[in-house]
């Protein structure tokens, strides 16, 4: 029967069309796997090179050594020809600069977020918010330039006038400028978080005669704490991984110090120093950069995972 025959044909896709769709699907899946492949690639290459490094330098020396001087290897037969690879001064330097940055960015970012979400009129909010976001859009090399050529000399001159000896590559200059860079990160995330606090809680507090700032400090902020903590963690992770500002403004002196006026170096600055210029790829010096990279990757990853989890939990609470 002609009619029934045509009906069967209509209901079944042609083999070619089906094949094409399968092919498209394959390409789509492949593309979404690229992101996974990148992560796997990062982990594998860091692990592999770092492993080669740890074949030469024991892991404990790397993690607990307080001397960092990879440049000392001159001759192969020299005693300790590989130099010293104690990462402690780099880690403390990174933490010092990040700490300064957080000390700058946390109050400024948080207060900006509070003002924008609680006090500012809609018009000024629409004006100020994008202006703050500009800070996040400026390339870090520009911050580095500003820190090294404007802020650092200013601090040095200021220190001299009050009799303080400020290093020209002080942790303070790098930290201050880095803090400015992460303000928008904190302010925009905290702004979202504060806006998610239900209006009913504000009404309850205002309704019993609390002032606006009492309501914010005693009701809104405590409710928003988890989300704000998440945003601070993300900002800290960003500060730890920031490279150009510290390369340009913090220098390479591996000092083990907590004095913000002295020069310190960071993990990222050392990675850049170790891997730019001519290099033989198999020396402990270049391989140590990957060990540092591994430390950096793991630290920031842990911070991010915790932060994202906290933020998500928080969002679910008020959804």
């Amino acid at each position: 029967m002609a009619t029934s025959e045509s009906a069967t044909i209509d209901l079944v896709h042609s083999q070619r069309k089906k094949g094409f769709e399968l092919f498209v699907m394959g390409v789509l899946i492949l593309c979404s796997l690229v992101a996974v492949a990148v992560t796997v690639g990062i982990v594998l290459s860091l692990l592999f090179e770092a492993f080669r490094f740890f074949e030469r330098i024991p892991l404990t020396d790397f993690l607990f050594g307080t001397q960092w001087s990879p440049q000392t290897a001159l001759r192969a037969d020299q005693v300790a020809a590989e130099g010293a690879f104690g990462a402690v001064p780099l880690i403390t330097g990174t933490l010092l600069i990040s700490f300064i940055a957080m000390c700058v960015a946390t109050p400024l970012g948080l207060m900006s977020a509070i003002y924008l979400s609680e006090y500012a009129s809609k018009r000024s909010r629409n004006l100020i918010k994008p202006a703050l976001e500009i800070l996040a859009g400026i390339p870090t090399v520009v911050y580095g330039f500003f820190a090294a050529l404007t802020v650092a000399p200013l601090l040095r001159a200021g220190g001299e006038s009050v009799g303080l000896n400020v290093s020209s590559e002080s942790a303070l200059a790098a930290g201050l400028v880095m803090g400015m860079m992460i303000i928008p990160l904190i302010s925009s995330l905290s702004d979202d978080v504060i806006n998610a606090v239900p209006q009913a809680l504000r009404d309850a507090s205002l309704g019993m005669g609390a002032t606006h700032s009492e309501t914010i400090r005693k009701v809104v902020l405590p409710s928003a704490i988890p989300g704000i903590a998440g945003s601070l963690l993300l900002a800290a992770s960003r500060a730890i991984g920031e490279t150009m500002i510290v390369v340009m403004a913090a220098g390479l002196a591996a000092n083990l110090t907590a004095n913000p006026l002295e020069a310190v170096t960071t993990i990222t600055a050392q990675i850049v120093a170790l891997l730019t210029g001519d290099q033989e790829f198999d020396s402990a010096k270049t391989l140590s950069a990957f060990a540092l990279g591994l430390v950096l990757f793991v630290t920031t990853l842990v911070l991010n995972v915790i932060a994202l989890r906290i933020v998500r939990k928080y969002q679910e609470q008020y959804d």
Binding site: C31, S32, M244, M248, L275
Partner: protein, 418 residues
């Protein structure tokens, strides 16, 4: 007794706490924005000078002794320039003085004269007045950045040199003009000649590679995740992965590029190809997240309409859903590209920090990028490079502003409220 008119002292202090709190907020915003203004302002101030340049006119002798009309290219142009300078200021007789005298014009003066002679054969055999690029110290003096009252030993220019320059100015032999060569030259050790063309082209090539890889991959990945991926562990892993990748420090991507692309796959070091690929891996999460958001904004009714007509899910997506989401995806892509344009650290890792004079011709040649050029110049000791660095930053910021404006316009124009 009800009394809410005369505030108690306790209420007064609460009120002033309220006012203080508000001022903290205003203060925080003010400090942040003031920092932005000061930073950008100081760069604009420092960099504006680099867009003008100084040229100086010197009468050169192109007589038959100096230039052979048959073979003009064989002439010793550098010597001609030096002779002309000596003739202009005959009082410089000591070697040290003469060296200072030659330093009034840029090191390239010989080449400039050669180009002039080859372009104007009529001038051969005459005394020609030729414009040369003035040296960086000369240029800075005229821009007023050098304080003439400082003790001579603390200045880069001696009183004698300043005297020559003042005479040249008085005689009308000095002109200031727009510094076109800043945009048409490659890098140079001489600040007055250094330009950003090679870095601009390097950045453009790098972005091109970055776009060609991350745009299609990002869009397709987003389509899969948003439209087809089943809700299971596998999709969860991809999703978590993308979110975390977005927060990995950029320098780690550089390490990946160095160890995988350069050392394992043997791709050419310092090339825009490798730079672009590294940056595309970095921007991929941005693009995927933006693309998913705009796909999600397409109402399900459109999908249902297409499916109801007998389109396959793949057809429904590619014919109807994706085109509607495209403006949003493009906006996200431009924002991602702007991020990539400003990125420096990963490029350092894969060796795009070379001193590049020539404009790269392909994505396989060694190149540098604009932010890296800024990084390199920021380290240069010459005073005049400070100006150049700031000017390069201005160009970079202008490009970023343009890209972001484009993104905003695109969003305004095509944004559909479903």
């Amino acid at each position: 007794m009800t009394d809410f008119i005369t505030p108690s002292t306790q209420l007064k202090s609460r009120k002033s706490a309220e006012q203080r709190f508000r001022w903290y907020g205003r203060g925080a915003i003010f400090v942040s924005l003031a920092f932005l203004v000061v930073m950008v302002g100081s760069i604009l101030y420092k960099g504006s000078g680099a867009f003008t340049t100084t040229d100086v006119a010197i009468v050169v002798d192109l007589g038959p002794d100096a230039v052979d009309p048959a073979n003009p290219q064989d002439a010793r142009f550098e010597k001609i320039v030096k002779d002309a300078l000596k003739a202009r200021f005959p009082e410089a007789t000591k070697r040290a003085d003469r060296r200072k005298l030659y330093g009034l014009v840029s090191n390239d003066a010989g080449f400039e004269l050669e180009r002039f002679v080859l372009a104007n054969p009529d001038a051969i055999g005459t005394q020609a007045r030729v414009w040369f690029r003035a040296s960086d110290d000369f240029d800075i003096l005229l821009k007023g950045t050098v304080d003439r009252d400082v003790d001579e030993s603390e200045r880069r220019l001696s009183d004698q040199e300043i005297g020559w320059i003042d005479r040249l100015v008085a005689d009308g032999d000095v002109k200031r003009g727009f510094n076109w060569s800043f945009f048409t030259n490659g890098d140079s050790r001489e600040p007055e000649l250094a330009g950003i063309l090679s870095a601009l082209v390097g950045s453009a090539l790098t972005l091109l590679v970055c776009f060609c890889f991350s745009f299609p991959v990002g869009i397709l990945a987003a389509i899969y995740l948003e439209e087809f991926a089943p809700k299971n562990r596998f999709s969860d892993i991809i999703e978590v992965n993308i979110n975390n990748l977005a927060a990995v420090p950029s320098i780690v991507f550089g390490l990946l590029g160095l160890s995988m692309l350069l050392n394992t796959f043997g791709m050419p070091r310092s090339s825009p190809l490798v730079g672009g690929l590294v940056l595309s891996l970095m921007t991929l999460p941005t693009i995927i997240i933006a693309a998913r958001a705009s796909l999600r904004a397409v109402p399900p009714s459109i999908r249902e309409a297409a499916l109801g007509m007998g389109a396959s899910p793949v057809q429904a997506t590619f014919h109807h859903v994706a085109p509607l989401a495209l403006p949003g995806i493009l906006t996200g892509t431009i924002v991602g590209m702007a991020q990539a344009l400003g990125e420096t650290a990963p490029l350092l890792m894969i060796g795009m920090v070379a001193f590049i004079v020539d404009v790269p011709q392909s994505i396989l040649e060694p190149a540098t990028a604009l932010p890296v050029q800024i990084f390199l110049w920021a380290d240069a000791p010459e005073r005049a490079f400070l100006e150049k660095t700031s000017a390069a930053i201005i160009v970079l910021l202008l490009s970023l502003i343009t890209m972001n404006l484009l993104a905003i316009v695109l969003r305004r124009r095509f944004e559909k409220r479903f």
